[in-house]
């Protein structure tokens, strides 16, 4: 049985500006126990897809199965925990009380104190939820997702509101939870997060899946850099034979080299052409990489 199975999934929203096809027929399978990143720029359809996995949105077409059943049934069994992209906490309960109340809804919750330790919120456990900072609120929302002890954990851009330290702690906890045999799916627009914390990445752009594979492969595809240099009178074919260079283009006096390994390319370029000037290395952003992939 698969953790998640999406078949020909589509969703269109009606807006005043006309219909927006948020998800245009995607097929994705996530095995139980896998940690998968849903990677893509804003507007790629990541949240819409996750909302359908959670049963919060009804697909216009296609099927969603979570552990072999409809999302609503998986949710009713208590098999799903999620940290949604937006959302605050209800007021007038302490963090610990809120976790106790939430845990009571699930058949096999984690121990509330264990969860508090796991997420590192002991210092605010007795505080009313409306008195928390933004970062603390995020951590409590993560604790809510974990306390249900779900088989599937869904995280929709969980680290957006966190500082660097908060992020590190968050991912450490996520990995420790995933190592208990849990299935984890998280949406992100950071390649680094997908690379560091997922087994596999599914790349989305414009409501479609443009790539799906081990994060190392995905990184090679989209983690490209460009090397720009002023270098007249050198044939492009020659430049394309340099180590680490996949493609070369001329722009007036300058050349732009797409690199699979920019470090190797720089060394080779400087060693071979001592008249190369104005070297610039640019990270091809995810958005650009996506544009290239979807072209």
């Amino acid at each position: 049985m698969h953790g998640i199975e999406l078949r020909g999934l589509t969703k269109t929203f009606r807006t005043p500006q006309g219909p927006v096809e948020a998800v245009r027929g995607i097929d994705v399978t996530v095995e139980a126990g896998e940690t998968v990143a849903l990677l893509g720029p804003n507007g790629a359809g990541k949240s819409t897809t996750l909302d359908m996995v959670l049963g919060l949105l009804r697909p216009d077409g296609g099927d969603v199965l979570v552990f072999g059943s409809a999302p609503q049934d998986a949710v009713a069994r208590g098999a799903v925990g999620a940290m949604l992209q937006t959302g605050q906490l209800i007021r007038d309960l302490t963090v610990r009380e809120l976790l106790l109340q939430f845990a009571s809804l699930y058949p096999q919750p984690l121990d509330v104190d264990e969860t508090i330790e796991l997420v590192g919120i002991r210092d605010v456990a007795g505080r009313l939820t409306q008195k928390l900072s933004g970062g603390q609120t995020q951590r409590v929302r993560f604790a809510l997702a974990l306390v249900s002890n779900p088989d599937l954990l869904v995280l929709d851009e969980p680290t957006v509101a966190m500082d660097v330290e908060g992020r590190r702690g968050f991912w450490t906890t996520m990995r420790e939870f995933a190592s208990r045999g849990k299935t984890v799916v998280f949406a992100t627009h950071y390649l680094d997060e997908a690379d560091a914390y997922a087994d596999r990445a599914v790349l989305m752009a414009n409501g479609t899946v443009v790539a799906d594979g081990p994060t190392t492969e995905i990184k090679a595809m989209v983690g490209r850099r460009t090397l720009r240099a002023t270098l007249p009178d050198v044939p492009l074919e020659e430049l394309e034979r340099l180590p680490g260079v996949t493609h070369a283009e001329r722009r007036g006096e300058a050349v732009v080299l797409s690199c699979s390994d920019s470090d190797a390319a720089v060394r080779a370029l400087v060693a071979r052409y001592d008249d190369a000037r104005d070297l610039e290395i640019g990270g091809a952003g995810l958005e650009e990489a996506f544009l290239e992939l979807t072209r």
């Binding site: 959670l54 949710v75 959302g87 007038d92 309960l93 009380e97 809804l105």
Partner: protein, 247 residues
């Protein structure tokens, strides 16, 4: 979901409600304060406006109806705030069934309403209201039944309106329904009476007629209450479905 777990959920929901000071003050303090203001100067009036009911008794039930109505509406209307922070989406990915969710909201409203009733009964006794135990119970029963449409109306508001709109909507509704229901003075004749008899708040206030002997509500009263309950419960259900996108 097992009953034990639902009990934990309900317990914290009630705890949370009682921690909201403004809410508690409005539900408890306001009716009691108004009662002493209105009824105390008239404590020796034995038949208010020829109704056959003493002023302390009439206003005790009038303000109980007012306070309980307020408590029930606010309990449901709090949903608007929970929706605003996205809490309803969070709840929808838990095993909490819509049925338990609604029961919890209604039960929380009733706990607040019963608190108001108890405080008002004590206030009434202080101003000299004396009734046989059977009549206290009968009155209480009628008020509890009469709050059903208000529980539904609160949930309807909570799912239909935004946080900004829900306050004025509730305030307006309570003001209008308490005026036309006879909270502030008995409505016994004329066009106003014809309208009043069609409103659930009127029959809430009429629970005080238990003290005149007889059954308190006429058949017409039960009919009006039943119709409003069914109508508003259907409305609440529709608002919930529209809100959550469930068919």
């Amino acid at each position: 979901m097992s009953g034990v777990n639902a009990a934990t959920y309900v317990r914290y929901e009630i705890k949370r409600t009682f921690r909201t000071r403004r809410f508690v003050l409005l539900a408890f303090g306001f009716p009691v304060g108004l009662y002493f203001l209105i009824a105390a100067p008239n404590r020796d009036t034995h038949s208010l406006a020829g109704s056959g009911l003493s002023a302390p008794l009439y206003f005790m039930i009038g303000l109980t109806a007012f306070g309980a109505m307020n408590a029930m509406l606010s309990a449901g209307a709090r949903i608007a705030g929970e929706r605003q922070v996205g809490w309803n989406r969070q709840l929808r990915i838990t095993p909490l069934s819509p049925r338990t969710y609604f029961r919890t909201k209604v039960l929380t409203g009733y706990v607040m309403a019963v608190g108001t009733m108890a405080l008002m009964y004590v206030s009434g006794a202080i101003l000299g209201v004396r009734l046989p135990a059977g009549e206290w119970l009968h009155m209480t029963w009628l008020i509890l039944v009469g709050l059903v449409p208000f529980a539904a109306l609160g949930i309807l508001f909570g799912h239909l309106l935004s946080v900004d709109a829900v306050g004025p909507a509730m305030g307006g509704t309570t003001a209008l329904l308490s005026f036309l229901g006879g909270v502030w003075f008995p409505i016994q004749h004329g066009a106003l009476h014809v309208i009043a008899e069609l409103l659930p708040s009127f029959w809430l206030v009429q629970a005080s007629r238990v003290a005149l002997g007889g059954s308190g509500w006429t058949a017409n009263g039960w009919l009006v209450m039943g119709a409003w309950s069914v109508l508003l419960a259907a409305g609440a259900m529709a608002a919930y479905r529209r809100d959550t996108g469930r068919a």
